[in-house]
């Protein structure tokens, strides 16, 4: 007990003894602010549960998500052995939802890696180099920003062919411009600061300045934006799946499951309802977490 007290005191100290100490202390302060926001904590809890579900899907799922059993088709909620009922091929909906968590996380993680990195590259180069490169890159960004995202993603998938990977590429291609804008704005304020001039005098080249001194400072605003965007990414991916352009059957992707259940909506409502609730819960969790993170990392942006 006394050990924990001292650790807490060490973290909350006003006079850090080293750089790492100061960093940890700042992180801990952020965590304390975040923890006091109960909605954000709820969001975090849901997402931790989602990750654990995806990791341990084979252990958690009561049945094989692909096993068909036509004598057991369209069983209602709470049926024996099938808590969430079964779909039109007699597959257990709960098991499919549990395995579907993996696909959702896979898509979100890939898009959340690709789009911000592309945006960071474009934005920092544009902001740091300036001149005609800046004009051209920002013009391209503006053009992409002015596009209808879902329709453009549809057209991309149409050209590339349906499938999860192509859906990821299509969503990423339409998702990077806002990150480029943010990264550029951050770069412009950082570029003219004294410490950048100091490093320049020490002989640092543009590559080193961008990667070592500008990127780290752009990260926190990008993280907030990515978290807030994740709900949109999930909805877009589910929309593509629903249209039959994302994950292909028999994959237990949630959007595709809704599309399957759509045919029975009036008589067997649970087939489409359950995956929809799953999508809603997860994107709500991302929104809650994003709001909380914004309050910690970027307090000015909130209202």
């Amino acid at each position: 007990m006394s050990d924990r007290q001292t650790l807490r005191d060490w973290l909350l100290t006003e006079t850090p003894t080293s750089r790492r100490h100061a960093k940890l202390s700042a992180l801990y302060h952020g965590w304390l602010t975040f923890r006091s926001n109960s909605m954000a904590m709820l969001g975090l809890a849901i997402l931790v549960a989602l990750v654990l579900t995806a990791l341990f899907a084979p252990l958690l799922a009561p049945l094989d998500p692909f096993e068909q059993n036509l004598s057991q088709r369209l069983l209602p909620l709470g049926a024996e052995n099938h808590l969430f009922g079964t779909d039109s091929l007699g597959r257990d909906i709960l098991s499919r939802l549990i395995y579907g968590a993996r696909i959702t996380l896979y898509i979100v993680a890939l898009v959340a890696l690709i789009a911000p990195i592309v945006g960071l590259l474009v934005g920092t180069v544009s902001g740091y180099v300036g001149g005609w490169i800046d004009t051209v890159l920002m013009r391209v960004t503006d053009i992409f920003l002015a596009f209808p995202r879902l329709v453009l993603a549809l057209a991309f998938v149409a050209a590339l062919g349906a499938g999860i990977e192509n859906a990821v590429i299509a969503i990423s291609l339409t998702a990077w411009p806002p990150y480029a804008r943010i990264a550029r704005a951050e770069t412009l304020t950082i570029r003219s600061s004294d410490y950048i001039s100091a490093i320049k005098l020490q002989g640092a080249g543009p590559l080193r300045i961008i990667t070592k001194h500008i990127w780290p400072l752009c990260i926190s605003s990008l993280i907030v934006r990515v978290t807030l965007d994740m709900a949109g990414i999930i909805l877009a991916a589910a929309g593509l799946g629903f249209l039959g352009l994302g994950a292909q059957p028999p994959s237990p992707e949630w959007g595709a499951m809704i599309s399957e259940g759509r045919r029975f909506i009036l008589d067997h409502w649970w087939v489409a309802t359950m995956p929809g609730l799953a999508i809603f819960t997860v994107s709500l969790a991302f929104n809650l977490l994003g709001d909380g993170l914004r309050d910690v990392l970027d307090p000015k942006a909130g209202d």
Binding site: A146, P148, A159, G239, I265, L284
Partner: protein, 357 residues
């Protein structure tokens, strides 16, 4: 200022343009430039998409059993032997003449199809945005004026749920509850099956056409069909509009002139609507224009759920049957409207909001 005045007095025969109207003209010109560049970018993207697709455009026209000479004839007719840049210029030329090629599904010009399906989407999105504005704006204003009260909390939850709910799923649930169980609204489609093509098409908007025809029964039927999908779209714009209204209003309500107005003894109604709200009108119109553009796009999934024969259904159907001309034509049209609404809101903001200068 003085210099400009001198310049005007030296040439009295020319009507002097005030500085303000000059800056408006400049803004309009630069806006036209940026529309052109953005549109060029859009067409470049759709052109590239059309080229990278794995489907052979010639084969999809002539079929697999065509002879080599037929294949070659179509190949040259499409200009596929020319360099890419020339092909792109051809494409630009065609699109500028509103020629999006022939649909492979029904062998009709894509532009004709789009003219036919577009009014359905326009009708849906317009009723949607009306609902979103009529409910969203007062909700946002109330939430700002009574910050942290129960109505603010409700506005917050409404928006949060709107941002997190898959629109196609909410549509299905709406159909299940209001059509399947309660029977309050019409089912999928624009009108009941007996009323299809009964009123003459004038505007293509059934609500308007039926009124022009004096056919109240069809108007009622069309209304019962549109109300659910339009409320759904309206809900999404409401979420965004109410949030933005709230934050614009909060900014105003903290300003000093509001305190002055209160000290003068104005009623709270006058303070809110005649002072604070007046100052957010331009910002609000930009937001509404943007969400209108968003609705045109959001209608893609909604149209599928409600079997609404609009441009979203058109693009998706074409997509699933690899009718690339139709997909790209539809994308260009939606993109064009999107760009124009974007720029329109931008322009409005620049011209009417003195703070933007």
């Amino acid at each position: 200022m003085a210099l400009a005045d001198n310049a005007d007095t030296r040439r009295p025969n020319r009507a002097p343009l005030s500085r303000a109207s000059w800056s408006v003209i400049k803004t309009v010109l630069s806006t036209i430039g940026s529309v052109a560049v953005t549109l060029l970018g859009l067409l470049l993207v759709t052109f590239v998409i059309g080229r990278v697709m794995p489907i052979d455009p010639v084969l999809s026209i002539v079929g697999e059993r065509a002879s080599q000479s037929t294949y070659d004839a179509v190949f040259y007719e499409l200009g596929l032997d020319k360099p890419l840049l020339v092909q792109f210029l051809y494409y630009l030329w065609d699109v500028l003449h509103l020629d999006f090629g022939i649909s492979l599904l029904n062998a009709r010009p894509v532009s004709e199809d789009i003219v036919r399906v577009f009014p359905a989407t326009l009708e849906l999105a317009t009723v949607g945005i009306l609902l979103g504005v009529v409910i969203g704006v007062p909700l946002g204003v109330l939430a700002a004026v009574r910050k942290d009260s129960w109505i603010d909390q409700i506005a917050r939850v409404v928006a949060l749920v709107g941002y997190s709910m898959p629109i196609f799923w909410l549509g299905l649930m709406g159909l299940l509850i209001f059509y399947g169980i309660l029977g309050w609204v019409g089912g999928p489609g624009r009108v009941g099956i007996f009323y299809v093509d009964v009123v003459p098409t004038v505007t293509g908007l059934i609500l308007v056409d039926s009124l022009l025809d004096g056919n109240i029964e069809i108007f009622k039927d069309a209304f019962s069909h549109i109300i659910l999908p339009a409320s759904l779209l309206g809900y999404y714009s409401l979420a965004y509009i109410s949030r933005m209204t709230r934050s614009f209003m909060l900014e105003q309500m903290n300003a000093e002139y509001i305190t002055t107005a209160r000290v003068k003894g104005l009623s709270e109604w006058d303070v809110v609507w005649k002072h604070a709200f007046r100052n957010i009108r331009v910002q609000l119109i930009t937001v509404i224009a943007l969400s209108y553009a968003g609705l045109l796009e959001g209608s893609v999934l909604t149209e599928i759920i409600f079997s609404w024969p609009g441009i979203g259904s058109y693009i998706t159907t074409a997509l699933l049957s690899a009718d690339m001309n139709a997909v790209l034509g539809g994308t260009v049209v939606v993109g064009l409207i999107f760009i124009l609404l974007n720029i329109f809101s931008d322009l409005l903001y620049k011209i009417f909001d003195p703070r933007a200068k």
